[in-house]
Structures are given as structure tokens and as C-alpha cells.
Amino acid sequence: MGRLDGKAAVVTGAGRGIGRAIAELLAAEGAAVVVNDVGSEVDGRGAGTSVADEVVAAIRERGGRAVASHESVADYAAAERIVATAVREFGAIDVLVNNAGILRDRMLFNMSEEEWDAVIAVHLKGTFNCTRHAAVQMRQQRRGRIISISSTSGVYGNSGQANYGAAKDGIAGFTRVVSRDLGRYGITVNAVCPGALTRMSQTVPQSARRTRNERGLETGFEERGFPLRNFGPENVAPWVVHLATDAAQNVNGQTFLVMAGLVALLGYPAPVRTIQKDGRWTPEEIATIFPHTLGMDLANPAPPERTR
């Protein structure tokens, strides 16, 4: 008996990497899976049906149930069809994993409008599109699990990823809001910030990582000295699937960091230091007491270069 026998799942971007590992583990636990992937390059260009079809074949070979979907999550109407595929083929949608994403890294001062738009469209609008349509069905069912892939790129801040970081932190905020919209209908909504070696993470060139290190720029997990072992995408899947099972039925509105054997709960943003006075502050007053209160020991993540 699997933990998800009789359940139906949709995994977007499931043709490769983390999405594929999630789809395969959901299927191994008994879920019928819609394997959605447009089959594009990491930058979103191109399309093909073979990657999704391959994953479906692999799941079926092991006795699981799966169907392929090749539509883009960035298209509102197409997202409705992706959700409808689960309902038509498997009678419901119990689990939605918003995993599809692309990458177009560039320093902010060189980023084009097109690079911004493309990344926001797939990650952020795509997550809204699928969640919006799945939510209608899940609300009627009075059950559902939505797990969206966010990233430390946005939650912590990664240099060179203004588009991706914005989209991914947007997904984290979206998750916190939507968990409150849907919780009372027996639906949970959570986010996972994964770390894994995939086709996507390998596009960040070693030279960029080296440069960031040399300049003392704060960046993502690889550069924070986490040993690069066990970073297979299959190590992200167990926690995502755990969130989809009955064991996590009351876990709602949370964000988790998952990589290489680490599963961590990320705290909510919260006011941690406060200054108050009787009446309105003047800027001069804030300047006087800020260094001794709110600003004490705050580090600049990218200090100015020394002027020659």
C-alpha cells in the first residue's frame, strides 16, 4: 500500500530534474500523475514532447499511472487544461506541485525587459495560473495539497538573479496568502526552497561563483560552504511527497529549505527590533539612534568598493 493510493497529482516541469524525481516518487506511493513539461531549454526557448513522455513511460514501466501534458503553465487557459487533464483522466486533483521554471541570469543593470518578463511569466504567473485553477476543484473536493517550488535565490537574495529572485520570493509570499485563502477547505499550501545539482543549477558558471566569493557577495547555498555532496534532485522529492501525505495534513503556509539531506523550516519574516517614540520621528532623530538600535551590527551584503 502506498501513502497516496487513489490520489491524483499534477507536477509541472516534471520532465527533468527535481520535478521528475517528485513525479516518480508520487507515483511510487500510488498517486496517478499528470507529468507536465513543455520540454524547453533552461532559458525557456524551444519545446518538445519527448521529456514528459519519457517520464510517463518510466512510471508506467514500474506499474504506476501517469499521463503526459506538454502545455505551458505561463498560459492561463493552458493551466486550466493541465488541471482538467487530472480530473478527466483520474477523477480529481489531490496534489499540485508547482515546479516549472526557467532561468535568465543577468546583473540588474544589464537585464533586459524580455529577460525579466520571461522568468516572471513561467515561475510566478505559472504558479498562480495552476494554483488558481486547481483551487476551484480542490475547494469543491474539500481536500488538496499545493506545494510550490520557491528558492533561496529570492528568500535569501542571489546576485545576478533579480528576475528569478523576485519570482521565487513572490511565490513564497503567494504561498503565505493562499494558505489562508484555502486552509478552511481542507487544503494546505506550502513552499519548498530546494538545492540540487540539475541542468538548471549547472548553468550558473563557476566563474560567477568565484567572482562572488572574491567580492564577498552573499549568495546561495553552494557558496555558503555547504559541502557539495548528495545534491541529487532525488533528495528533494521525499519532503515534497511527505507534504502531500496525510502525515502533513495540518502543515499549512510554511516554507522549507530542502537539500542534500537537510530539511529545515524557514521562519516567517517578523519584526525583531523596534524603535518607538511619542509622536512622529524626524529623520535626524532616526539617524541619531539608528546605529545603536535597529542598525546595530547590520552587515552590508555587498559593501562599496574602496575608492582609489
Partner: protein, 305 residues
Amino acid sequence: MGDMLAGRVAVVTGGGRGIGRGVARALAAAGAKVVVNDYGVAVDGRAPSSGPAFDVVAEIERDGGEAVAVADWEGAGRIVDTARSRFGRIDILVTCAGILRDRMVFNMSEEEWDAVLAVHLKGTFACVRHACTHMREQRWGRIITFSSGSGLFGNPGQANYGAAKSAIGGLTKVAARDLGKYGVTVNAICPVAGTRMTVNEEVRRAREVRKERGIQREDRGVAQIEELDPDDVAPMVVFLASEHARGVNGQFFLCFGSTVALVSQPRPVKALYKADGNWTLDELDRLAPTTVLEGLVNPAPPKEA
């Protein structure tokens, strides 16, 4: 007139009303020349007019101002160009412009999503992108974005607004890292204030519905919003725009009334680790409830059947 920002040139988007108006006037009062940008729309983004921006410009006695639209790429470029052609440079960018279209996510239309994301997120990116090239060249700049507790803490009925405001948060954190070395700082304000956006019949109704249904909203001890003057947000913005705040970069500040609070960033607070990386679901079932999941509260628990 103060002199904290003497000689500086600032752009304030959404500077025609509410918090943005207070910011524009306070920057001018601190000695900055200000471009007041406002599309002059209703809270939902409809019915533009040039009135509010010109009204604020008129209020700022010594300083000139001009109004241009913010939601399109060319508009953002024109706003930054206006600062440079009129006053010779751009030192300070404050992005307050925003609209609201609240709806529970299962009823939200694509148009409601797109409109809110366009003004808040794309509008912020477009202005920051155009301003930062000049700030990088002059090796000095201050960017102050407007995020919100809606996305950081989770406000029901605001999937579009909460996502946009959190995405602005992510943009702020990345921009701080991309631009810091050039002497540019990028910080975010999460304001709470009584404005036409937050004090209206719809908001009052929503509050009652939430209370009725037991849905948590993380108001974090904020007083009744009606009592919070939008002009109270401005002093912290002026401070962040000044030379005094040169080392403050990539931070978030919650501002309401006389309160200014540093907001923490999400960090791991409880963790489980397995050296070989490969968790089984049995292990997670056994360990998670007493470790990473211990004590978590569902912010909107299921209605009893």
C-alpha cells in the same frame, strides 16, 4: 528646510496621494529636488488623471515636479529621464506606486492578477532598472522600494498583491547585492497606514468575515489602521535616502505610526539532517512531527464538517 538631502534629486512613484505624497513632501523638506510621479488612478487602477501629481508639486513650494505614467517600460524610462533633464541627475528612487484588486484566489481573474502585478512588480523593476544604470555610473544611489506585510506575513484575499509585494522583496534583496559595491543601497519599507487603499467599506467587511471564520491575519500588534497617519512613514524613507544610511543595504523596515521595526528574513529555525541525503518517507513520518513540524499552527484550519 532641512539639509539632510541637500543637492540630491529624487523620484517618487505614486507620489500623488497617501504614503507617496508624504514621502515626496518629506524628501523636498529635507532639501531634495523631487519628481512626483503619479498616474492619478483610482485604488483599482482605473480612471487616470493628472491632478494628484500636480497638486503635490504645487504643495512642494520650491521644487519642481512632473507626472508620467509608471506601468509601462517607456513610462519608467521617461520618469528617470525627467529627473535627469530637469535636475541633472537621479540620486534617490522611491517606488510607492501600487493598486489593489482583492479577491479570494479561487475567484481571482487573470485580469485582476495581471493588473496588480504590472503596477507593483513590473513598475518597480522598470524604475529600478532605468535608475540603477545612472546610480552605478555616479557611484551613489538610494533605492527604497515598498513591500508589504501582506506577502511577508500572509493576508487572505490578496494573492496578487501579496505575491507582488513579496516579489518586490526578492527584487530588493537581489538588487542590494547587485548594486551595493557601486555605492548604491536598496532597502524596502513595509508600511501600515490609513489611506484610501486601506480604509474603506470593503476592507472593513473583509476584516469582519475573517474574524467570523477564524482566519489568522498577522497584524503583528498594529493599532487600528484608521488611526495610522500615512505621513508617519516618510521620516524613515528620508533617513534611508541620506548619507547617514550608507551602510544599510538589503534590509526591510516595518513602519506604522511612531513605530519603525527591522524585519527579519526567513532563516532555518529547525532542521533535520541525514548525511547520505536520501530520506525515506518512513523516516520522515517518524521524525518530522517532533522536529521541523513541532508546534506549527495551521493559520486557517479546516472548517469542522
